[in-house]
């Protein structure tokens, strides 16, 4: 075992990690937007729309993310839309995360009893005010653990983008591996970097959770 040689490739590791972070954050934000829109459509959409949203969820949740990335990267060009690797991976991961996000957002909204909405209406609040001030904060708290767990899975799942050469950590690793022939050492370091990022995000989420959700809850 020899890790010495890898020091020279610090920059590549760092750049790969930054691209991993970028992929994760883009997919999380876009996916969350899909989640909110999808959950709204499931609630209020017409029947064909609801069916379409449901199909989207099932298709993306029941096929491997890797195959989805391949399909978007290799197939879209045939339809005249040629996406660079990073963009294709970002699109694929966003849709993948979005399918889970819809279910999470919906579970959050469903977790608020109707009586809370009624109490808000009886105080003369508008639908938006009821949603914003009465439904949203407790709903967010209820799904916060599920959301953060899914975020961590997303962070780890961005590693699949390496298979279309999207430049993230594993792709950087394969480059370093090809230069050093230190396969095991390279991937051990990569695993350590992922682990450090996961721990950092978990700590960050815990702090945010403590700060944002201060009210006591019944057990």
């Amino acid at each position: 075992m020899n890790f010495q040689q890898l020091w020279r490739y610090q920059d590549q590791f760092v750049e790969g990690a930054l691209i991993t972070l970028a992929l994760t954050l883009i997919a999380a934000v876009v996916g969350l937007a899909i989640g909110v829109a999808g959950a709204a459509l499931l609630r209020g959409g017409a029947k064909p729309v609801r069916l379409a949203v449901r199909s989207y969820i099932e298709i993306f949740r029941n096929t491997p993310s890797l195959i989805q990335i391949f399909l978007i990267f290799f197939v879209l060009p045939a339809a005249g839309l040629k996406l660079p690797a990073f963009e294709a991976a970002a699109v694929a991961l966003s849709f993948y995360f979005g399918a889970y996000a819809i279910e999470i957002v919906r579970a959050g909204l469903d977790s608020i009893p109707k009586s809370q909405v009624e109490a808000g209406q009886c105080l003369g609040l508008t639908r938006w005010e009821v949603f914003r001030h009465i439904v949203l904060p407790p709903a967010l708290r209820n799904v916060y653990p599920a959301f953060t767990a899914q975020f961590v899975l997303l962070l780890l799942g961005t590693s699949l983008a390496s298979q279309v050469a999207a430049g993230e950590l594993f792709h950087a690793a394969s480059f370093i591996e090809s230069r050093t022939y230190r396969s095991f050492e390279v991937y051990a370091v990569v695993c350590a970097i992922y682990f450090a990022m996961v721990i950092a995000f978990k700590a960050l989420f815990a702090v945010i959770g403590l700060a944002a959700f201060r009210w006591p809850i019944r057990r």
């Binding site: 009586s115 109490a119 209406q121 009886c122 105080l123 609040l125 407790p138 009210w215 019944r218």
Partner: protein
């Protein structure tokens, strides 16, 4: 003209007709108590007054204004009609103060500076001024229900509806809530209550309405009604709750 006029109201849930032609008047300053067995339609009637349920036929007017879920100024209407629920329905993520001031801040556009004094004032009226910064979850059931009442009072309603507000409380906590309601009655608030508290109905109410099978079976002043029930249904009900 009465403050609330209910005329021949019918309401069904699916196949089940819950209200079968109910008519009732509530005058300003009057305390009306609706009693009856569960399933007699009491709570549904109360929820119809606040347009939480849509009536199938008949009419309800409050302060001369026809009530329906689709009415033009539903929100302004609801600000004038307070309702307190069996399950309190406080907002768990807001402190007592924020629970009370949320609606006045949003709908009445009171200034931030007026919010806390308003909360203190209404909390004082339910005897909980010292709990202004507490979380609802940290209060007893009786205290939560008093905060729920204070939250309504902050909207300065013209009419208050109470839907079995003591039914979810431990017996030793019922008294403190009833006392608050007695105080409100004494100060002239118009109140419609659905309750199982016969002592309160007897002593505080101006009018008792006995509902049975979706209809107003008997109504009248408490002394009269309790002493001389005219129908066997009311007689058996009074005997069963004694």
């Amino acid at each position: 003209m009465a403050l609330v006029e209910i005329r021949d109201v019918r309401k069904s849930f699916g196949q089940v007709e819950v209200l079968k032609g109910v008519s009732l008047d509530v005058k300003e300053g009057e305390i009306v108590t609706i009693i009856g067995r569960s399933g007699s339609g009491k709570s549904t009637l109360l929820r119809c007054i606040n347009a939480l349920e849509t009536i199938d036929s008949g009419s309800i007017t409050v302060e001369g204004q026809a009530v329906s879920a689709g009415m033009a100024n539903l929100r302004q209407f609801r600000q004038r009609v307070g309702i307190v629920f069996q399950a309190f329905n406080l907002f768990p993520h807001l402190t007592v103060e924020k629970n009370i001031t949320l609606a006045p801040l949003l709908t009445k556009k009171i200034g931030k500076a007026q919010a806390r004094p308003l909360a203190l004032d209404v909390l004082g009226r339910v005897g909980l001024a010292d709990k202004i910064d507490a979380w609802p979850e940290r209060l007893s059931g009786g205290q939560q229900q008093r905060v729920a009442i204070a939250r309504c009072l902050a909207m300065a309603p013209h009419l208050m509806l109470f839907d079995e507000v003591t039914s979810a409380l431990d017996p030793e906590l019922v008294g403190e809530v009833l006392k608050v309601m007695e105080d409100m009655a004494r100060q002239g608030m118009t109140m419609v209550l659905v309750t199982h508290e016969m002592g309160f109905a007897r002593n505080v109410a101006n009018k008792i309405v006995f509902m049975h099978q979706g209809k107003v079976w008997e109504e009248g002043p408490p002394a009269e009604l309790f002493a001389n029930p005219r129908t066997p249904e009311l007689r058996s009900f009074i005997n069963s709750v004694k």
